[in-house]
Every structure is written in C-alpha cells, then in structure tokens.
C-alpha cells in the first residue's frame, strides 16, 4: 500500500480517533497477530484501549503516523494476545528478571511465546489506578517496594496473562526488589526455574583483580572475568534443557536462526535511535521511542509481527529524516534519559517543556546489544548479556552514559527514580554524583496520577538551566 505521509506531529487521543475514522476497513483487517482473522486484528486507535480502562491515554499525546498507530494497537493488545496464544496451544513462558536474553532461547522452540510480567509496571499508570499496587500490598509487598510489585497482583489475579507453562526467573545480580517479587510469586504456588545472574565484577576497581588473560571485553568496552561468561553458558544450557523437556524439541540450529532474527530487530532499533539522535528535528517522540526499545525484550508476544511493525517505523523515520521533518521544535534541547519512567506521561511532559530525548539508558542495554553470529550461540548470548546495565558497577554505567553525551551533544541528563525501588534509591544519587560535570535532574516518579506542579516546575527550571 502506498501510504500518504501526513505532517508529523504529536496528537491527542481524540485527534487519533478522527484520523481513524478515515482508515478503510480493508486496511484495519490487514493487520493481525498470529495470522488470525477472528480475534487477531489489532489496528485500533487509543480510544479503544481508553474505553477498556487505560485512562491515561486521554491526556497522552501520540505520534500521528499510521506506523505508530499500528504499534500502539499491537502493544495494547498484549494481554489478549497472551491468552489467545494459550487458547491456540502455544506455550506461554514467563521470563522474569534478566530483561533481554532468555526470550532468545524461548523463541528457538516451536510455538513458544515468551513475555516479561515486569512490563506490567506501566499498567497502573496507563490505567491511572492503584488497584494492582493495593492488591500487592494486601499480598505482602508494601509501598516500599518497586512498582514492579504489581507482578505479584497479576499472578494472583490471573487476568493479565494466562498461567505460564514455565516461569524462568533470573535472580542474583539483578533488581533486588524484583527478586523479592519473584520469591513471593513462587510462594503462591508457581513453580519457578531459577537462573542465577552473575555480577560483572569490575576488573579495574577491585583488589582481587583477575589476570588479563582471564578477562574479556564486552561490546561496550567493559572488561569482565571470563569465568562469568562460562557460568552464564552453563545456565543457558540448563534453560535449553528445560525448554527441550517442555516441548520435546531439540534443534540447536533454530537458535542460530533466532539470533539472526533478533539481531535484525536490534539493528533496526539501533538505526532508529541513531537517526533520532542525529536528525536536525526529532523524527519520533520519546514515548514511541521508549516503546520501540522495550519491544527488543520479547517483541510483545508476537516477535515476527513486531519486527514488521518496527520495520515500518524505521522506514517512516527514515523518510521523515530525509525530508527534514519531525515532531518537535528544531530548538528542542537534547537530553539523555536514565532509567525508564514507570509513568509514560513524564515522557510527554518533558517534551512539552522543551526537551528532546536523544539517548537513553533504560537498564535494558543487554536487549539492545547485537549478538555475535560467528561463535557458538549460547556463548554469544552470554557475551551479549554481560553488557547488561544493572549487573555491573554504577561507575561503568555512568561511563557509558558519558560516552553517549559526548557523541550526541547532550546538554543534560534526566534520571527517573522509582519510589520504593531500592536499587534506584541507591544508584540514582551515585549516577548524579558521578556525572559531576553534566547537568542532571533526578525525579522521583510518584504513584499513578501523581505528577504534579512541583515536578513540572523542577523540569522547567532544569530546562532553563541547560538551554
């Protein structure tokens, strides 16, 4: 279909509804997940999901491209998609805590659909509802726990995803609050396969420094002891065996093919990020960009369809860049965003106040890193995972942020800090201190519907400082 390009801008839910009225039914029916005509159609405007309870959509602004509409329709359909997957006898596998690598293994088995329950942490914000958070409190996870505690509520309620056929829970050098969440899920009677994530022990800052010949380097330049790579390979072998037991299929060649497919997506996203950072005018809003980045985790439960959606967005962004058009003002101030905001509205707000997000460090670096294709696949997975954001020292994380700051002429850094997330509480202050010569603002993301005038004023003041 030859698509008519509209002038890029951010539009309201109601404006999207008006545009949607002009989309022919044949086009709507063309896009479906799992290739199902009956329930797989997903091209719906934000109003559809608002009617089904996503109240924040009323005040969010969205990119006005058809490609972004398709993306939102797909992303907001995920709960239904997971249930439908189960209904058509696919195996639904919850991968928890590692944020990026275990799903690559899952994809390699036929009819297996991985998903990350922790991505539900956006749900209270999209719904502007404390229901899931309150339920978590009643189930033993009080306010002083990261918003990811909603996962416990979701397992209890069984209405956000079907009962998983397998739960692969990664713990160790990961979010400590989330480890507690996973323990409580297990205590509710769910069987977990535990995977240990090793700590990427820095070779520079420790007294027990390994010998150089015992170390290797990640794609981002972090030196690590090889022993953790070996350890991860063994953990992935265990996961592979468990998936083999679940499916009865053992075809290592599929992993090689999966890695190629995953790399295709990661390449596309990297290119989109690059175009977004380098273009004179931002071609894509921060909210859509964040949604695309997180799609790298597991493709929102239909990987092939997701790749196709991202390809469409890539083409659209390329076209906008070529024409020198975009969604923000030319003088929008480039900033980097560190740690994702649980409240999507904050991304809108920061842009409304004059900023432009050109770089992100959303603790999912491991899902953005290309996987080597010329070595043994499990080892390649391990090596890509070792690039992860949260498994090493804060100093290393900040070094990566600083590199990006230099590359993209970033004027300031915005750090979102999740209330109750003890990891954030510890690390945010450290990041601020280590950034030292770069203006940085940290914001505590409050409970749903809690972004108030005070936060707005602080961002405004920050913008004035870095302008």
């Amino acid at each position: 279909m030859k698509k008519k390009r509209t002038i890029p801008k951010k539009i309201s839910l109601e404006a999207w509804s008006r545009q949607f009225e002009n989309i022919p039914i044949e086009v709507i029916k063309r896009f479906r997940y799992y290739d199902n005509d009956e329930w797989g159609i997903y091209l719906s405007p934000p109003a559809t999901f608002m009617v089904y309870g996503a109240r924040e959509l009323q005040r969010l602004k969205f990119d006005n491209s058809f490609e972004s509409l398709r993306m939102w329709g797909f992303v907001f359909n995920e709960t239904e998609r997971l249930f439908r997957a189960k209904q058509i006898n696919k195996k639904v596998i919850a991968t928890m805590g590692d944020l990026g690598t275990i799903p690559v293994l899952v994809f390699s088995f036929p009819d297996c659909v991985p998903f990350y329950p922790e991505c539900l942490w956006w749900t209270p914000f999209f719904k502007e509802s404390t229901e899931l958070l309150d339920t978590a409190s009643r189930l033993g996870l009080p306010e002083a726990t990261c918003f990811s505690r909603v996962v416990v509520s979701a397992f209890y309620k069984r209405s956000y995803f079907p009962k998983p056929d397998l739960i692969i829970a990664s713990t160790g050098a990961s979010c400590d609050d989330y480890s507690c969440v996973m323990q409580i899920v297990e205590s509710m009677g769910y069987e977990m396969m535990w995977v240990e994530i090793p700590y990427r022990r820095s070779t520079e800052f420790t007294l027990t420094r390994p010998r150089p010949q015992d170390c290797d380097k990640t794609r981002d330049g972090f030196i690590y002891p090889k022993v953790i790579e070996e350890y991860l390979v063994r953990e992935y072998q265990r996961v592979w065996q468990r998936l083999f037991k679940l499916t009865g299929v053992n075809n290592p060649h599929r992993l090689v093919e999966t890695i190629k497919k995953v790399n295709r997506l990661r390449n596309l996203v990297e290119e989109i990020k690059k175009m977004n950072a380098e273009a004179e005018i931002a071609p894509l809003p921060a909210l859509e960009l964040m949604t695309i980045e997180f799609g790298n985790l597991y493709g929102y439960a239909d990987f092939d369809e997701w790749v196709d959606i991202v390809q469409g967005i890539y083409d659209m962004v390329k076209d906008r860049v070529k024409k020198g058009i975009g969604v923000l003002r030319k003088d929008a101030i480039p900033i980097a965003w560190v740690t994702p905001s649980a409240d999507p509205y904050l991304l809108n707000l920061v842009e409304d106040l004059g900023c432009r997000v050109v770089e992100t460090e959303y603790v999912i670096r491991q899902a953005l890193t290309l996987i080597e294709e010329d070595i043994e696949p499990l080892r390649a997975l391990a090596r890509s995972f070792i690039n992860a954001s949260l498994i090493g020292s804060t100093e290393e994380r900040v070094r990566r942020i600083k590199q990006k700051i230099a590359q993209n002429k970033i004027k300031g850094v915005l750090i979102t800090n999740m209330l109750g997330a003890s990891h954030c509480a510890m690390e945010t202050r450290l990041i601020e201190r280590l950034l030292s010569d770069v203006p940085a603002l940290s914001i505590d993301v409050p409970a749903p519907f809690g972004i108030n005038q005070q936060i707005r004023t602080r961002i405004e003041a920050f913008v004035e400082t870095i302008r």
């Binding site: 839910l13 709507i28 159609i41 009617v51 109240r55 249930f83 502007e128 209890y156 209405s159």
Partner: protein, 343 residues
C-alpha cells in the same frame, strides 16, 4: 467467596473468551439508580453529573459489575427534533414526534456535543469514567435506529409506513443511523462502551419480517461501525425475541442481552457465537421477596454460566425504578454466589 477481580478485569476476561473468577453480574440498573441516590428522575436525566453520581452510588450500594448510563430510548429522537416533556419524577414522555406530515420532514442530524440531552449522557460518561472507570466498565446504552425511528413519528404511523412507504422509512433510518454513529463516536471518546438497545424491535412489537427488513440491517451497520474499533458489542432487545432468534446471529453482536425467552433454548442456538446476557424477570425483582429472588437468581446462573462463549447474569430488562433495594441486592448476591468458575 470473595471477589478476586475487579468488574473491569472480569469483563476484560469475558470478552477474550476466558473464564473470570465468577461470571459478571450486571443487572440493568438504569433510572433505578436515581432512587437509590434519593434523586428525582428529572434531575437524573437532565444533568450528567447527577446521572453519574446516581450510578456511582448504586454501584457502591450493590457492587455489581457495570455502570449503565441510560434513562430512556427517546434521547436521539429528541435531539433530532421530537418533543418530549420532562415530568418532575418520571421519565421523559414523547409529546410531539418531529415528523407529522411528510416522512422526510424537518429531521436534522444533531451535534451530539450540543443538542438536547445527548451532552448530558456524554457528561455522565466522562464523570463516571474519571471517578471509577479504572475498576468498572462504563456502559452507555444507545437506542438502535429502528427504536429511534419509532420516536420520530407516531409509532403506529411508523409501523404502517413500513408497509406503505418502506423506502421513505429506510431514508429516515439512514439518517438516524448516521446520527447514532456520530453519537457512538462521542461516547467512545468520552470513555464508554456503547451498548445497542432496540426494545421496539422486539418480537412483542413487530413481526420477524419487519425485524429483518427494518431493524436488523441498521443493527448490523451500527455493530459493524463499532467493530472497526475492535469492541465487543452488546445488543439488547426487550420482550420476546423467540421468533427472530436465529436472525439475532446475523446482527454480528458479540453479546446478546435477552428478555422474555427460554434461555436454555437461546443457549443452544446462540451461545456458540454469542455470549449470553440475561434474563431474570424484572417483575420478580419488583414483587417477589429477597429469599426467593436469591434462590432463583442462583438457579438461573447455575444453568447458564457454562454457556459456550460466556455469560453475564442480568435482568431481562431494566430494573424497575421503584424496585426494593433488598430485592436487587438479593439478585446480585444470588447470582454472584452461584457464578463462580475458579476454585
């Protein structure tokens, strides 16, 4: 047993063909809510905030599974020019239908945001959605074109015209359809799920042939419009729809709300394609006693809750305005008690 899901989560499960903790219980509590809130009916249907507040008070009283924004089926006809009177404590009454002489006389396509009581409904939706839309589905009842048509001219004349001037009736219904779609568009963007109600297309009022000619095609078009948005559409028809039961399947509605029909037969004929809603007799709610209602509601739910595509326990029609509170509560409690799916 204690509820695990919110009404919103429960409804969400139903429309993706999953069994929720228990079947949803949504009696058609419409204007009855005004009485629960101690409000005169005129205030209820002329003030959106009042309508929403009455519905919220009813929800907090009964803990049922859906908010019903509705008073009566004349509101679109009124916006198109028919004149209604507003008794102080009763529902609006059709005084002068807009079409008196020529069939295509004077009817207009109104702006739903501005005309007559359409904005009242939209305000009620917005208010209720903002207040409790995260935990309860907000359902807005929309009269289907045939029912609205019957309020644009004298109902008797309308029915005679379906025989003598069918083309002109279709022209009127086409305009009504366009109006109804515009209203649905605004309802969606205010946050509610439109529910199509076509009480005057009932088998108690018209023949199956008239239904097929003049009601069904417009129900279909309206439902097609809502399907564009990927909504699961509810169609409610009052009275006895047994004669046109097979035609109901052709409406393409996803959920069918039935009144005076044998639900076991309906389950046999409809439930592979449609989810069933119904059909506790409203006169029992009005005149029976709580113990009897509790028991019979439970029995009804036990029979129907395993309908193939799913089931919502409801009344066959609107809960009578002056129904005793304890009777309504007994229905809800009885239906909840026997409606459990989960261990």
């Amino acid at each position: 047993m204690k509820d695990i899901l919110t009404p919103r989560e429960r409804f969400g499960m139903l429309v993706i063909d999953e069994k929720p903790d228990r079947c949803p219980v949504i009696p058609l509590i419409t204007s009855h809510s005004a009485k629960i809130a101690g409000m005169k009916l005129k205030r209820y249907y002329t003030n959106g905030e009042k309508m929403a507040k009455a519905q919220i008070i009813a929800f907090e009283t009964y803990h049922h599974d859906g908010i019903s924004i509705f008073s009566e089926v004349g509101l679109i006809a009124e916006a198109m020019g028919s004149e209604f009177t507003y008794p102080d404590d009763d529902l609006p009454v059709l005084k002068n239908p807009i079409i008196q002489d020529s069939l295509n006389d004077r009817i207009i396509i109104p702006d739903p945001k501005k005309t007559k009581r359409l904005p009242v409904y939209l305000e009620a939706i917005r208010y209720a959605y903002k207040a409790i839309g995260d935990i309860v589905p907000i359902l807005a009842y929309v009269p289907a074109p045939f029912t609205t048509g019957m309020h644009l001219l004298n109902p008797e004349k309308f029915l005679i015209a379906t025989l003598k001037n069918p083309e002109e009736i279709r022209m009127i219904l086409d305009i009504v359809l366009e109006t109804t779609i515009k209203f649905c568009y605004e309802i969606i963007n205010a946050g509610a799920l439109p529910i199509i109600v076509d009480p005057l297309a009932s088998g108690s009022v018209i023949s199956p042939a008239t239904y097929r000619e003049f009601a069904l095609p417009y129900e279909q078009k309206l439902i097609d419009y809502l399907h564009r948005y990927d909504f699961d559409v509810i169609l409610h028809i009052c009275g006895d729809t047994t004669p046109m039961m097979d035609m109901l399947l052709e409406s393409n509605a996803d959920l069918i709300s039935l009144d005076q029909v044998n639900m076991l037969k309906a389950m046999e004929r409809l439930s592979k394609k449609m989810r069933l809603i119904g059909n506790f007799h409203t006169s029992k709610i009005m005149f029976s006693n709580p113990e009897e209602i509790y028991k019979t509601a439970g029995m009804m739910v036990e029979q129907l809750k395993f309908a193939h595509k799913g089931y919502i326990a409801s009344t066959g029609c609107e809960v009578p305005i002056y129904a005793p509170k304890e009777n309504v509560q007994a229905f809800i409690n009885g239906a909840k008690e026997k409606g459990w799916y989960w261990d």
